[in-house]
Amino acid sequence: MSHTLIIGLGNPILTDDGVGVQVARAVEDALPPHLRDEVRVTEAAVGGLRLMEMMAGYRRVILIDAMLGPDPAGTLRRLTLPELETISPTQHSASAHDASLITALEAGRRMGLPLPDDIVIYAIAAENVVDFGEQPTPAVAQAIPRAVEAVINEIVHSS
């Protein structure tokens, strides 16, 4: 089994919300050959419990997601899990069916699932996550190459 899991998060048909998925796909294409066995790249439009369950068995997880907040659209931020905890639930996945990722991870650990300690989030500030569309807005699209580079650097330098 691969030791690192990269998950592009978001809905690929909801304009900027799909940027995490686009970055993940580009990361997969740009992966150096010697890392292809130990790094698995996937995409998901889930949060909370299901996201937690996806992480089981990996030593490290890198999440790539869109973010709504005060930053200008296209701003790239690297967050750790404790930092994520300080900024409250995800917009559409604070769910009737779900818990926040932090709560879900805690629940999973208590139930003995092998979950990674090393979880990093690359977040790209989004502008539009309410209109259906397959392309991000221009400012968000421009952030994609920077995000890909940052994720690749993170993998290369710590692998």
Partner: protein, 501 residues
């Protein structure tokens, strides 16, 4: 007029907003339930090939992509005038039962759990799945996770993809089931039946054995007498995958039974000035406002509704649970069928009975000799024009309606999603709970607000799609305004129900 705003609602799919308006005396004058709508889905689909719809529409929602996938696939059957084989129908239904098991399980333990298992007055930090695990034990928590994971495995096996399935084809299913897989699914279905029976026992032990909870379930604050909708099979038993749409009146008498394709003859949509939402109602009865009763066209489409609209369950143990449900809640039998249960909080119990049915039905299908039939695809020969597909989503009747040109390119798309059916009942429940719990001089505590939230959470509302951008600030905000509209108090509630002043 004072205004209390609760925005957004934690543990609600998507984010919503409840506005409660108080009068000069501090009594609840009105309560409104609002959510932001995502824009432009129909336009986004127009001009695309119809056969893409099972894969596009399952991106509407990250909670029930399987339901959209199935409704879209059935709409394609109708659009291309192709009847799936009996084996294909069974394969699809088995896939759909695995989805139901995981969805209803998650709802009870992650949503109903915080309200019932932990309790509405439990400390805020415990009203989440961690609190549920603490109360019922880590072993049960492990069973919940195991149940989800084994059924996700089935969904992936049958649907071709873990989260957003891809197997639905007009008249067919992309992948047959081999004998080895069938055996694995059969074993999983057996575990599901045991788990569903266990969950009903948890409900017995924790809710029914607690007089305070039972009183709350039976209280007027959580009671509404409306019409009920659900899909039924040829025997008028609950069915999630296929059948006729049956509506019963508040006394339990069949009001209408119609083919899903005729939905537009029976359902109309009310537009209100204060929200983008449209409120479906029974066309023949008419819109009389957000009110109960036979004269009001408001109907409800939930697990409770499906039980109320049916004469029984199609599997033996679910039927036993069904009878116990109505007997325990004091429903009389009239002309051979139980009168409806109107206690909205009983929806949580009804959901567990449906969980048991889904598990039993999955087992039946896994044991069906036809299920391993390798012939699961057909060549589509007819030109497409128009099609309606319908299933029972966990949250209510889900209808997809497509029209195309002769090349199969979409020219019209209309969707009535599960929760939409319940917009009016949700608004009514929120108002009634608020009226009974907020009175002049009463301190607005977190417990009170939680009870109001319970009023809509029981509907298991899913308001949005699978988008889940990380927000900068997305707290639950409670704003209290005086008669002039000035803010007198502001409370903010963050994730996992922590409350800050």
């Amino acid at each position: 007029m004072k205004r209390i705003t609760i925005d957004p609602i934690t543990r609600l799919e998507g984010h919503g907003k409840i506005e409660i308006f108080l009068d000069e005396e501090g009594e609840v004058a009105n309560a409104y339930f609002q959510i932001p709508e995502l824009r432009g889905f129909e336009q986004f689909c127009l001009g695309r090939p119809a056969e893409e719809m099972p894969r596009i529409t399952n991106r509407i929602c990250g909670v029930c992509p399987e339901a959209h996938h199935m409704a879209a696939t059935k709409a394609l059957d109708a659009l291309y005038h192709v009847e799936p084989s009996s084996a294909v129908k069974k394969l699809r239904e088995m896939f759909y039962m695995a989805f139901y098991v995981t969805d209803h399980t998650t709802h009870f333990y992650a949503l109903g759990g915080p309200d019932f298992v932990v309790g509405p007055d439990a400390p805020k930090a415990e009203r989440n799945i961690l609190g549920v695990i603490h109360k019922v034990g880590v072993e049960v928590g492990k069973q919940v996770i195991d149940c989800r994971m084994r059924n996700h495995h089935v969904i992936q096996m049958l649907g071709g993809r873990g989260i957003h399935p891809v197997a639905g084809l007009p008249g067919g299913w992309a992948k047959a089931v081999g004998e080895e897989e069938r055996q694995e699914i059969e074993a999983i279905a057996r575990q599901n039946v045991d788990f569903a029976l266990f969950s009903l026992k948890v409900f017995d032990d924790i809710v029914l054995a607690n007089k305070q909870y039972v009183d709350m379930v039976l209280s007027d604050a959580f009671t509404h007498r409306t019409y009920y909708m659900g899909t039924v099979d040829a025997n008028n038993h609950v069915n999630f995958y296929d059948g006729m749409i049956r509506v019963v009146d508040p006394d339990g008498k069949e009001f209408v039974k119609y083919h899903p394709r005729d939905y537009a003859q029976h359902i109309a949509e009310r537009v209100e000035p204060w929200t983008y939402l449209k409120f479906p109602y029974l066309k023949v009865v008419g819109w009389k406002g957000f009110v109960d009763g036979r004269e009001s066209g408001v109907y409800c489409a939930t697990p409770l509704s499906r039980l109320n609209a049916a004469d029984g369950m199609a599997t033996p143990r679910a039927q036993e649970a069904f009878e116990k449900f109505y007997e325990t809640l004091g429903a009389k039998k009239i002309n051979g069928r139980y009168e409806p249960v109107h206690y909205r909080l009983a929806t949580h119990w009804a959901r567990l009975i449906e969980l048991l049915f889904a598990a039993e039905r999955m087992l039946e299908l896994a044991q069906d000799p036809e299920i391993t039939d390798p012939n699961v695809r057909v060549v589509v020969k007819n030109a497409p024009d128009e099609g309606v597909g319908s299933v029972e989503a966990p949250r209510g009747t889900l209808t997809h309606h497509y029209q195309t040109d002769e090349n199969g390119m979409l020219t019209k798309v209309n969707l009535i999603v599960g929760t939409t059916n319940n917009y009016a009942p949700i608004a009514m429940s929120v108002k009634k709970a608020a009226q009974s719990l907020i009175h002049k001089g009463a301190v607005i505590t977190d417990g009170l607000l939680n009870r109001i939230e319970m009023a809509f959470r029981l509907y298991d509302p899913c308001m949005s799609c699978a988008t889940h951008s990380l927000p900068g600030q997305m707290p639950l905000e409670v704003v209290i305004r005086d008669a002039e509209g000035a803010v007198v108090q502001r409370l903010t509630q963050y994730v996992d129900s922590r409350l800050y002043d």
